[in-house]
């Protein structure tokens, strides 16, 4: 049990380090509270954006927290891909440059999994292969307004 935990943890941690570096240029790492008995403690995230001093996770900005959380999700995806991902406005805190980084990361990941991403941001919509339009009709009913090939 402890061994299978460490197999997953070490693998995900390696992916997290490289994806966090790719998304924010800094150094990220998953840290266990108790390496002897991982189940007796929790797991924290050490996330240090490029050229910055390490801060507590809670003190990071909204955009920095989003990139850290997404790096963790992509690291899990690398380790054990799910067949599909459904993300609802994951880019809401991100500035234009970071939306582009996440969009190109999804583009890359979409080679081994399906990504369905609700977004209002242009860089995300432009990076997708298709866009589904949704609109509300007169009688309170949502309808699909079309499918656009990008």
């Amino acid at each position: 049990k402890r061994q299978t935990f460490f197999d997953s943890f070490n693998n995900i941690n390696e992916y997290f380090k490289s994806i966090f570096a790719e998304l924010s240029g800094g150094h990220g790492e998953l840290i266990l509270e108790n390496y002897e008995d991982p189940f007796a403690g929790g797991m924290t995230i050490r996330a240090q954006p490029a050229d910055k001093t390490l801060q507590r996770l809670e003190a990071m900005s909204g955009g920095e927290k989003s990139l850290t959380a997404l790096a963790f999700i992509f690291a899990i995806q690398q380790h054990q891909p799910a067949p599909f991902y459904a993300f609802d406005e994951i880019d809401m805190f991100l500035d234009g440059a970071n939306v582009e980084r996440i969009a190109s990361r999804i583009e890359k990941s979409a080679e081994n999994a399906q990504f369905i991403v609700v977004s209002l941001r242009k860089p995300m919509i432009q990076a997708a292969n298709h866009t589904i339009g949704v609109a509300m009709q007169e009688n309170d009913i949502s309808s699909i307004t079309g499918m656009q090939l990008n």
Binding site: T4, F5, S8, I12, E33, P38, G41, G42, M43, T44, I45, G62, K65, S66, A69, L70, F72, I73, I76, Q77, Q80, P81, A82, P83, F84, Y85, A86, F87, D88, E89, I90, M92, F93, I106, A110, A113, Q114, F115, I116, V117, V118, S119, M124, I125, A127, A128, N129, H130, I132, G133, V134, A135, M136, N139, D140, I141, S142, I144, T145, M147
Partner: protein, 172 residues
């Protein structure tokens, strides 16, 4: 394996019947505020039983049944049930069953005294735990990070260290 299409029937703002096709790549869903985008993600969570701690913004399951203008809530003719079907392309046999397409359907039906909720796996009625067992074989877990609801993106950085470690436990 990927989602080929999702079919809604009187689920939230998707009154009547609507089928949304998907491709096996990167698709965005866009549209004005209140048009129904998040309801599509709620539909996936509803049909696959992934809600766990997520509420789909409903207090009880019958809140998910379409109640817009066309539903004439007033008299008995009100719409009494909602259905969501998710169709997967199973050519790679991620679901260990010998079908090229796997359909997972969930219905909720309102009755005089309460409501019923049914699950179907390829048209055969089954339980939520059977659905979970099948989904787990294909790499889809109820508390998995593959579905992120609106406003939830920074949840992983705000949960306790224990909760965060548990995400790894489930995968191991």
């Amino acid at each position: 394996m990927h989602i080929k299409d999702i079919e809604f029937e009187n689920f939230k703002s998707f009154g009547k019947q609507v089928r949304i096709p998907f491709f096996n790549d990167f698709t965005t869903i866009s549209g004005p505020n209140g048009s129904g985008k998040s309801n599509i993600v709620d539909g996936v969570i509803f049909a696959l039983g992934l809600s766990g701690s997520r509420t789909m913004r409903a207090e009880k399951l019958t809140d998910l049944i379409f109640n817009g203008n066309g539903s004439s809530k007033g008299d008995n003719k009100g719409i009494k049930s909602a259905r969501v079907t998710v169709r997967f392309d199973n050519n790679d046999r991620c679901f260990p069953v010998d079908y090229d397409t796997v359909e997972i359907t969930r219905k909720v039906k309102q009755t005089e005294s309460g409501y019923y909720s049914y699950y179907y796996f390829n048209d055969r009625a089954c339980t939520l735990s059977e659905i979970h067992a099948n989904l787990a074989k294909a790499g889809i877990r109820p508390e998995g990070c593959n579905v992120v609801m609106q406003g939830d993106v920074t949840r992983i950085t705000e949960m306790t260290p224990f909760e965060r470690r548990k995400l790894i436990d489930e995968i191991a």
